[in-house]
């Protein structure tokens, strides 16, 4: 705020000084007027300042604050199809949340969300980092290969998910055909409650690796060469170099990658919906899928419980966001 005010005030003072050529004679006699003028000036400056903020403020309110507020509002009401017509939706307090917590789907969905999210980001991160380190040492064709690794990222999710669904098809999928070569019996990847989560996890990990690869690769490039030189002079082997230098120095990048990965994976919907529709039963139903099922999946839309589940997702993402900021702060304080 101060920075914004300094410039216009200096300019304004210059202006008033010029316009009041005869002011010194009258100035002493009318301090009230000068005060009033100054106030008007200040208000005008404020309005101008608000005018500049307005576009982003309006944008935030219309596209973030209002929808969020509406979703919260929706979750505390009993919103039915008839509500669209009558505009009436009685407030029911936390009844929707209680319904969600008591639902037999709640615990499986929570467990699935945890497994899917943690499983995805841990493996994506490990493989992404390993590949980044691998590609950091330039070798012939490394750029081409690295570019090829980005393909999963470029494909529309609909395409990737459909192809994975075909590949993991129990009877005619290429994965089972390949396993059969080694004498492994048919695995019902997407149609068995025991393996459906594994099936969608594999697809999601494959899709997420390029993102981790790209960010970790750029992180690696920020590590100064001198550190590596010094460690090699000290006789560190490859393993020690990685754990003592590369990994610790990648900490800030790793933290943001994991956080983004977490938020991204929490809300993954399309891959699971296309591959298994959250089934069989609830076996691959995460919160995102459950929310959609409640709101739009069945014949009877439960809009308010769906909003409640959506809000739980937001809370989870928010909690991890806070954890991230706090750890960020402690590391900054420490350094």
């Amino acid at each position: 705020m101060t920075a914004m005010q300094t410039v216009p005030r200096a300019a304004a003072d210059g202006g008033t000084g010029g316009s009041r050529g005869v002011a010194p004679a009258n100035g002493a006699t009318r301090p009230g007027e000068r005060e009033a003028r100054r106030r008007a000036q200040r208000i005008r400056q404020q309005l101008v300042a608000w005018g500049f903020i307005a576009p982003v403020a309006i944008y935030m309110v219309v596209f973030y604050a209002y929808p969020l507020f509406r979703n919260l509002d929706l979750s505390f009401r009993d919103y039915t199809l008839a509500s669209f017509i009558t505009g009436e939706a009685p407030l029911v307090g936390i009844a929707n949340y209680l319904e969600v917590f008591r639902s037999p789907t709640f615990w499986p969905a929570l467990g699935n969300t945890a497994v899917f999210t943690l499983g995805s980001i841990v493996v994506q991160f490990a493989l992404g980092l390993a590949l980044a380190v691998f590609f950091y040492r330039r070798f012939p064709l490394s750029t081409t290969l690295r570019a090829l690794f980005l393909v999963p990222w470029l494909l529309p999710l609909l395409v990737s998910a459909s192809i994975w669904a075909w590949m993991l098809n129990s009877d005619s999928g290429v994965v089972n055909a390949a396993l059969a070569v080694f004498g492994i019996p048919q695995v019902n990847w997407l149609t068995s409650p025991q393996t459906s989560m594994l099936g969608v996890l594999i697809a999601n990990i494959w899709i997420g690796i390029p993102f981790n690869l790209v960010i970790m690769y750029s992180g690696l490039q920020n590590i100064p060469d001198e550190v590596y030189e010094a460690s090699s002079l000290d006789g560190a082997n490859g393993w020690q170099t990685f754990w003592r230098i590369t990994f610790p120095m990648l900490r800030p990048v790793s933290a943001i990658t994991l956080l983004l990965g977490l938020i991204y994976t929490l809300k993954v919907f399309d891959i699971i919906w296309i591959m298994t529709r959250g089934g069989p039963g609830d076996s691959s139903t995460t919160f995102a899928i459950w929310s959609y099922r409640l709101g739009f999946g069945g014949g009877s839309p439960d809009l308010s419980p769906a909003a409640a589940v959506g809000n739980l997702l937001i809370v989870i993402a928010f909690v991890f966001g806070i954890i991230y900021i706090r750890t960020q702060r402690t590391t900054e304080d420490a350094s």
Partner: protein
Amino acid sequence: MDKNRTARIVGATVLSGVFVAAALTGCSSTPSDNNAGSTEYTLWDPYPDRDASSDWAKAIDACASDIGITIKRNAGNTGDTVKDLTTAAAGKLPDIAMVDNPKVSTLADAGLLTTTDDNGLDVSDIQENILTAGQIDGKTYGVPVGANTLGLYYNPAVLEAAGVDIASVTDGASLTAALEKVVASGKKGITFSAVGTEEGSFQFLPWFWGAGADLTALDSSEATSALTLWTDWVKNGLAPQSVLQNTQGTSWDEFKTGEFGFAENGSWFKADADAAGYQVIQIPGEDGKAAPAPTGGEFITIPIQKDTSRYATSVKIVKCLTEGNTGADSLGYIAPTAEGQKAQLASDPSLEFWVTAVGDAKPRTADNLGIKYGTISEQLYTAVQNALSGGSSPADALATAQKAVDEKLG
């Protein structure tokens, strides 16, 4: 600093004033009753794939010129009930809305649709069993533009090679025996769609109803026997695992590989089946007779208007689209009236089978289930998924489903 604060508050107040004003105008801009007395009528249908040159669009235009009005067609609006209603909440209900039949009761319950008492539509010529999907508590909220239903397609070449006589397939046990022969001959048994959506319920219902089960009691022994039939097929390799993910479209693709003996699918694949030389029978029920299959197809409804004088013309439009066979033909449905069916048979005698099948069919929301059907169906396809995937036994899956229905509807 204090003065700055005052100034800032003034600014913030002005800004929020703008918001409030914008919000208020946004809310109060209710659309005017735009077409009072206008001869332009609006029709919403869920067929975005049928463009202005399609038979369906032409059928609408023909009706419009017969009545001496213009009909503005808006395709793709009624695919999603929730979305419809949101749009409708803005106050712009169309004169005619075409709605998938199980959703009629939902819209009616929300108070969106006129009854035949309100609009004066005569429904006496509409085939009784199809019409019930639009009836709740004795009131009729719309008429079918036509209907389709499911049958049991078979590949004569595969059956012949396996030594199966199609006449022997009269109930679940004889069908299972036929499937075993087909599999023994090195081919695959049967494909269908047991996907975890409404399509899964749609496909399961003939077996469910055929066993004598009722949607009001999902955990009955009849229901269990129907689900056990399906589960055992998957367990014993007579049906592929992919049925758990198949939509009716992908299931048909499987059948068209020529590897399968049987496929449960809809009348909409008739032309495809004829071309490939596939035959079809009605799905066998447990009593040896044909099982009632669910009806598919859209209903033509007349949503509530402020200007009630518009209903008279809307009724004419509905009549025009349902009376003969042009409307049904253009959408690939069996006509909803005896007269229309007669005309369809005259031009294509091979429709005989499907006309009979539609006559034996049953709407999903029948038995006055109305909006309860949505909840029941969701639990039904979940139970099917749980049983077929081996997650739980058919009896347990159905018991859980009925418990969930009771909790939701209780």
